[in-house]
Amino acid sequence: MSARKAIKLSGLVNAGKVIVTEPSGPSLLAQALQMQPEAAQDAPVVEPSLPAALPIQPSPSPLSGEPSSPSNVLQQVRLDTLYVSPYQPRTRMSDEAMDFLRASVDVLGITAPITVRPVAAPAGAAVLGEKASPTGQMFEIVCGHRRTEAARSLGLDTVPAYVRTLTDEEAEQLARLDNENSEPLCDFDRAKNFAAGKRKGLTQSRIAQEFGCSQALVSECLALLDLPPDFLQILERNPAAFSAKTGKVIRDLRLAYPENTAVIVEAVQRIADGKLDQKALRASVELRLQPVTATRNTHRRVVDKQGKTLFTLHLKPKERSVIVQCDQADADLDAIEALLRAALESAQQP
């Protein structure tokens, strides 16, 4: 009998889909059944399939953004006390989006407070403000880099922020996850996020679950990071240069033309510069690399000393014809015909 496997209650409990909590007291049913404790036990002892009290299993939530301590103070934070988060995956902010944001901040101010956490001043970290004030508490931005950048470019002094105490892990999680929801990350930045997950030993499906995307996307983005350094350089300079799908095309092309990586790199560079569309990559590379012997109608050129074409010979084997095309502007057709006739008649001599 081959039907799909049955659903078991203990399986659902173990998977965290069914959450068991301690009941506040014995159920009415249990009370009713226990009413006569002294009755004789004639029935055979049955083994219950579940233990008498199921262990409490709190479902592990990936977004454990709740801080370890309940401090969640809203205050105005000076821009020059802010550090950029080392976990920030976004390497470049798109200009148009920044313009919109800047315009909106100009009018409304920062409506959604950013999230920061107090840190000791780390060495070598990028400080947002022009002058770092050595006195006073420094903060690290967890979420809200774009808003802070907009504020800075408008010349504001402070931004509203929730100050939370977060561990490094919590800050990393929040920083990576939060950005998925605002301006969508480009695939290269996403790939960096996913690589962080992979370093922790998570499977692709688990990473996909955490970031709320599909496992196929995770796989594609991670494959971007496996490209040779030439391509990665292009991406480092401009993370939005090309997408993960283009990365797949690059891989296929490298497999097909292993010696011609330089051509592929050049084409990708043209994409990054905006001269070539991503979808045209494959066609462009193949055009360059495939030998031009496609046409059966072979063209033979007769050139003079300077390389200028004098004649083009078209051979059409099917029609058994040879066509002599005179490419010179001032060709004397009668003279050429006489020349050819002479040549052909002399060719009949054995």
Partner: protein
């Protein structure tokens, strides 16, 4: 013979008039082998089954069907139960020098809420138990007669005696004549039913009967020889609370409360609790065990998961491990026009998902209730 019009591949064929000829005629070799727990080649299973049946092998027995009686014989062979004991129609036992009769396990499908699938579960469970080699007696104790209908019996046709009739005869001290009430579904008493019709609702006479709550228990004792032929008795109770349901409850060993994972069905569990409390406060000697079966579960519905969490928290250890999924096949069990083609899902579509769930529940209950074949304990191999 024509293929029946539903698209599920099965061995059933229809006649020109469209009713299925092969319902209640058995299952195919592979299913039979799994049910009987036989480990070996299909050929050896077939040979063993033929040998135990006592008939020679028919020329194209390759494609033939196995009825529950066949499976019982193979099962007993595998469990080491002597064949004459297995086939015997009476369960006589000797206990402390006194001759007595084996008492079957009495399971009552009871929940105060209607429409949760009590009848479906009862019918399918009975078929499942029969195919696992047990002799099962079904009692339809719901005047709506849905179980009767499910097994292809027309309730409006002549039902000479139902459970109410039998209890009345006990109350009046008349000869019970139980055989008059029993209808066979499978051969060799593997699946019998005491059907009913709407006249079961006339229970006014119960009011005046002395010791009315014990009438069913008394019936079981008085007809101990008759009931000893069965391994399990399954009762389908009416949803509401009535004198009849209380009487049937008192005589039962186990209560199977079927619920759907929705809050009204859960609330019905509390009503059941108060039923049981009433019974126990009035009658000291009642021992009942309650297990909860979740039916019509749809894992894609969040409220179902939440309700399941609530149930698992409130009733730890009482919920049956396998959750029966919502499956469209259960709706194909009955048709209003052709009652004779009605049959539980396990008969009609033994390879379906719903059937799979039922089989798992059956196995689970066999273990939990310690349901025995001919009084012999069985150790079920893990699937």
């Amino acid at each position: 013979m024509y293929r029946c019009s539903c698209k599920i591949p099965c061995n059933k064929s229809t006649t020109m008039w469209g009713f299925s000829m092969t319902q209640f005629q058995g299952v195919r070799a592979r299913s039979a082998q799994e049910f009987s727990g036989y480990i070996g080649t299909a050929r050896n299973f077939r040979l063993l089954s033929d040998k135990l049946r006592g008939t020679g092998a028919a020329p194209d027995s390759y494609q033939r069907l196995y009825i529950p009686a066949d499976i019982r014989r193979v099962r007993c062979h595998e469990l080491g139960i002597p064949q004459d004991v297995a086939a015997s129609e009476s369960g006589k036992v000797e206990a402390a020098g006194k001759a007595g009769f084996r008492r079957p396990k009495v399971i009552n499908c009871r929940i105060p809420k209607g429409g949760v699938g009590k009848t479906t579960v009862a019918g399918n469970l009975a078929v499942g138990l029969a195919y696992f080699g047990h002799r099962v007696l079904l009692i339809d104790a719901d005047p709506q007669a849905s179980l009767t209908n499910l097994l292809g019996i027309d309730p409006s046709a002549n039902i000479p005696a139902h459970i109410g009739t039998l209890l009345r005869r006990v109350a009046l001290g008349e000869p019970t004549q139980v055989d008059q009430a029993v209808r066979a579904i499978h051969d060799e008493h593997m699946l019998d039913i005491i059907p009913c019709d709407i006249t079961l609702a006339n229970e006014a006479w119960l009011m005046g009967a002395t010791g009315r709550e014990f009438l069913f228990s008394r019936l079981l004792e008085q007809e101990a020889a008759f009931f000893s032929r069965y391994d399990v008795v399954l009762i389908d109770s009416a949803p509401g609370s009535s004198m009849l349901t209380t009487t049937m409850l008192v005589g039962s060993d186990h209560v199977l409360a079927v619920v759907t994972p929705e809050s009204q069905a859960i609330a019905a569990l509390e009503v059941l609790a108060s039923n049981i409390a009433d019974v126990k406060s009035a009658l000291r000697a009642v021992e009942l065990d309650v297990k909860i079966l979740v039916n019509r579960f749809n894992s894609a519905r969040r409220p179902h998961m939440d309700t399941l969490s609530f149930l698992a928290s409130q009733y730890p250890g009482q919920i049956i491990e396998t959750v029966v999924r919502d499956f469209i096949g259960f709706l194909r069990e009955v048709s209003p026009e052709k009652i004779e083609t009605n049959a539980p899902l396990l008969e009609k579509e033994p390879a379906s998902i719903g059937a799979r769930d039922i089989i798992d529940v059956t196995k689970s209950l066999i273990q939990q209730y310690d349901i025995r074949i001919a009084g012999h304990q069985q150790i079920l191999r893990a699937a």
